[in-house]
Symmetry: C2
DNA sequence: GTGAAAGCGCTAACAA
DNA sequence: TTGTTAGCGCTTTCAC
């Protein structure tokens, strides 16, 4: 059997109250008592049962994180960010990956209803706003990553997608590309919509008409990026001057198709992604850097603040930043120095 | 306030015992009682408190996973594997990334002593065997990923590193490479040691002397791969016929150096990695595929078996498999068809 | 078949 | 300063 509070009491002769006080650093105990209790605690190798504590205190010191079923390296980074902040505040992290929308709701419900965690962090899910609002009723603080909630007090940590998408579009335009294709993310996803909108706006501002045919639907996955470009080319479409994918996974998919068909990047077409995942760096893909760790860390902090300080409606927006690499722009000759001006994150493996 | 068992009792008129029986599917209740109780449960939106249950049953339905502070995409995949098996068995997953060896022990101790989980999965840690054996005393089942424990009953799920490393080495030799450099993983790590040992053995069997100078120390990280090759070249070393890195991250690091210095892969030197992470596929790096998801899924299954069936000393060993891509061997002309024979996993983006 | 009651291991009034 | 005691919300003997 394992050691409980009572064992410590028996051995010290003190009551549970006193021992508990010592353990919780109450000032209402003699130095001597404290010493004696701690000695026995040490001796017996006693450790308070977290479970019992939970039941009494109605705290779990646990943050639950639910991720969508996407595979991209993006989530690892976010997870690490959450982990870092979480453990810094002496919280634990419970992780679950959803395996589809139904599963997502089941997961979320289970966590909330069983009160397995003090707060819930939801990432980039496509769940409708009113469903999310409904969750608020259960009283567990929820922090949304990647989606500010318009008319609600739900906390969120999101991205300034527009500035990044705008910078990328401007970069392409500045390098003389006009005929730019855009591979979208799943419709209805906040980030995807913002990125597309900013692309459109920027094009319009520059009096550069957007060819509707060149808006290719994607799903934020690598295969969907492949398909988008392949379908266009197979349908007899000309290779555009540039391709702007709403995330790196799709950019990588498109790059695969380009290489397989003998096209050179950036000579035949420029390519830009979004996120700045590890593979994008290795492949030399110009992209918009997203501070993934910070996204995670910030959301964990927000979640904890909601728990400990009962703060509500906290909304953060993190900046994004263009990172110029070989996949785009270098053929103008002076793009390299310019790249430095845009960002110092450009260490990469030339392709 | 939230709904408890008592609320259901009050509303139904039954005792806690009966309601609890209904909830746990006991056969000792009338169909009618069951119906009435469930109706009220539904009506009130009652959900049993997991915490209270835990305290009573001394089960947490939680698997704790501790990962090392490495960044590689490897872990994401393993984590997904664990998640899949975990949720399939109605368990939850608690994740923690260590931030160094001291931290690692602290994390592990906390989980074990507080009994936050029913079982613990440890991944690829460099913790000494006797420390691990010491942990067994606490009674929490531990499953090791990537390291079979020689003289102990600790469960493990590990890799057949040798077969994979052997296949890779043979592949390089068959393509006429003799002068092969090997970038090692951190000394003392099971996988790293096995891979190096198999490389050495295979070379010897083929009467191909291993040049000690060409064994470059690495740490399983991308920068360490860069450094290993850069140091050699900067020291005036000739580019070897081939480079075999003990993992993909380091292979990618070396590839970066090669490209920066204008070398072509595989023309100037062949390159082989280990793990088959996503980036390796995109970069067309020949590598040894490691079934990362299975590694995770299997370890979760083993962990759960230990909990539910009190099985002990389960040891699994998963196969690895050579995947031939562009970074190696294709310059012989007929390597492509051969690649098919070796593995069908070779879809990749030609570099 | 159902209920009363005793805990699981802890914390925190309240009393002394 | 320390002890007594009543729970937290559930499961499970043991009676009935």
């Amino acid at each position: 059997m394992h050691v409980t509070l009572k064992d410590v009491c028996k051995k010290t002769g003190f009551s549970t109250a006193t021992v508990s006080r010592v353990l919780n650093g109450s000032p209402l105990v003699t130095e001597d008592t404290k010493r004696r209790v701690l000695a026995v605690v040490e001796d017996l190798g006693y450790q308070p049962s977290h479970t019992a504590r939970m039941l009494k205190l109605k705290r779990t010191d646990m943050l639950a994180v639910v991720f969508p079923p996407l595979d991209v390296g993006f989530f690892t980074e976010v997870l690490r960010g959450i982990d870092a902040a979480t453990s810094e505040h002496n919280y634990h992290m419970m992780t679950a990956f959803s395996h589809g929308p139904e599963d997502e709701r089941k997961l979320i419900n289970r966590v909330i209803r069983e009160r397995r965690a003090d707060a819930l962090i939801l990432m980039n899910l496509t769940l409708p706003e009113n469903y999310l609002r409904g969750l608020a009723r259960y009283g567990m603080p929820i922090t949304l990553i990647d989606r500010p909630m318009a008319r609600s007090k739900m906390a969120s940590v999101s991205l300034d997608n527009r500035t990044g998408a705008r910078a990328a579009t401007v970069h392409l335009l500045d390098h003389g590309h006009r005929n730019i294709a855009f591979i979208t993310g799943p419709k209805g996803t906040y980030d995807a919509d913002e990125r597309l909108a900013a692309f459109r706006e920027t094009m319009q501002e520059r009096n550069c008409p957007v060819d509707r045919q060149l808006i290719w639907p994607g799903r934020f996955t690598e295969p969907s990026g492949r398909e988008a470009l392949a379908r266009w080319l197979d349908g007899g479409g000309d290779l555009p001057d540039a391709i702007f994918a709403a995330n790196d996974a799709m950019a990588i998919g498109a790059l695969g198709v380009l290489r397989e068909r003998g096209y050179d990047v950036p000579r035949d077409t420029a390519l830009v992604g979004f996120d700045d995942i590890e593979s994008a760096r290795y492949l030399g893909i110009t992209t918009v850097h997203v501070p993934m760790r910070e996204l995670g860390a910030k959301s964990a902090q927000v979640a904890i603040q909601q728990v400990t300080r009962h703060q509500t409606g906290i909304a953060h927006r993190l900046p994004t930043e263009l990172v110029v690499r070989a996949s785009c722009g270098t053929h103008t000759g002076n793009a390299a120095p310019r790249a430095q001006a845009v960002s110092t994150r450009s260490r990469n493996i030339p392709t």
